[in-house]
């Protein structure tokens, strides 16, 4: 599974960071960083929640 963020859409609301702090981090520069681009399968339901609750719909998952 691969995590993809459309950085043209991302506005750093940091919702994903709260839901999946192992995968996403918004740093002091207000930019989002992906900490783990190929997370283990057991992250899937958490990541699906992040996809759903991203206010910019900027996150997608690719198998």
């Amino acid at each position: 599974m691969r995590v993809i963020v459309d950085f043209d859409l991302c506005e750093s609301n940091a919702v994903c960071m709260q839901i999946a702090p192992d995968i996403f981090e918004v740093r002091d520069d207000d930019f989002l960083y992906i900490l783990e681009e190929n997370p283990r399968e057991d992250h899937r339901s958490t990541l699906q929640e992040a996809v759903q609750r991203c206010p910019k719909q900027a996150i997608s998952l690719e198998d």
Partner: protein
Amino acid sequence: MLDTVTIVGASLAGFWAAETLRRDGFAGPIALIGEEPHAPYDRPPLSKKYLAGELDDDRLDLVPANQLDDLDLDLRLGCRATGLEVASRTLEVDGIAEPFDGLVLATGARCRTLPDTAGMDGVYTLRTRDDAAAIRDALAAGTRRLTVVGAGFIGAEVASTAIQRGVEVTMVEALDTPFGRALGTEMGAVVADVHRSHGVELRTGTGVDRVLGGDRVTGVRLTDGSTLDTDLLVVGIGVVPATDWMEGSGLILNDGVVCDATCLATDRVVAAGDVARWPNPRYEGLMRVEHWDNAVQQGVHAARRLLQTEQEATPFAPVPWFWSDQYDRKVQLAGRTHPDDDVQVAVGSTVEHRFAAFYGREGRFTAVLGMNRPRYVMQAKALLEQDASWDEAQALAADWN
């Protein structure tokens, strides 16, 4: 077990209810009924990029058309629910009765309007894509002076977009403090300062006495006796839940559809989004939330509730959260503020318009407000979800500094 589900309202809560039913394995027919002619779309950009003319219609879609098709919904757009009777499980759509089995109520809310402005050109509320397109076109057609009635977040975003297009903007707020209702006096003043620094004229402590003009708005007379000339009037004075069509349904209607803590309004009927009022166990009393994130989460929760037994059902207990983009500032608020909360800047500086502030009362941590501090807001929100004390919030702030 339900055979079919009818969802009334094809916006955020209704869409996510449908998506959740399918995701959780519900294989029966799902009808998604929407009053607007458009497939489910996202509303936040309407007062931001869409209004600025920077976003095409298709970029508003909640999901691409093929993903919507995959959900195999009976999508009934341009159809309006006109009546409901829960005892006989009868829904009325465009005046025609039909039975329902499971029902999701997600009809959202309608904008409050000013009296005697119906049909007047140049007077708008902003809720739908069509509203936004009309305001966008009016701005593009050479509006010089915009008056925004109501210093709330929709009005603030419209003001922000318009002034960046060179329009003169005046905001009129009946309360003494703009944004005071949501943010309290002190932080309301900080947001007001952001607007003033970008050239918005703020008129506070005065209401609208009368909208002037015949077929077309020409000005506004305020309750302080002064008059503002204007070409365009955007009214952002709040919304009322769209429950008028449910009068006499047998449901309890009181500033929304009153539900139990699990979002159940009555047997086989759930409600979600702006229209739902429920006892969030995290807070006292009933709560109705008009935010994007709530519509997503409550749509999911309500759909699951429909598939669950009473024993399986869980309360819906979110910490409410919203964001608003104004100029180059991102305002985020998580939690529930009260007018007499203590407020403390936890990190950053209000003068620089980049900070996070904590709200607290009676030893509890109640809310966090951020301006261009998303990382901090979300850390504080996690603490709010643990029902943290004021002391625990202080410890987090100490970590940050």
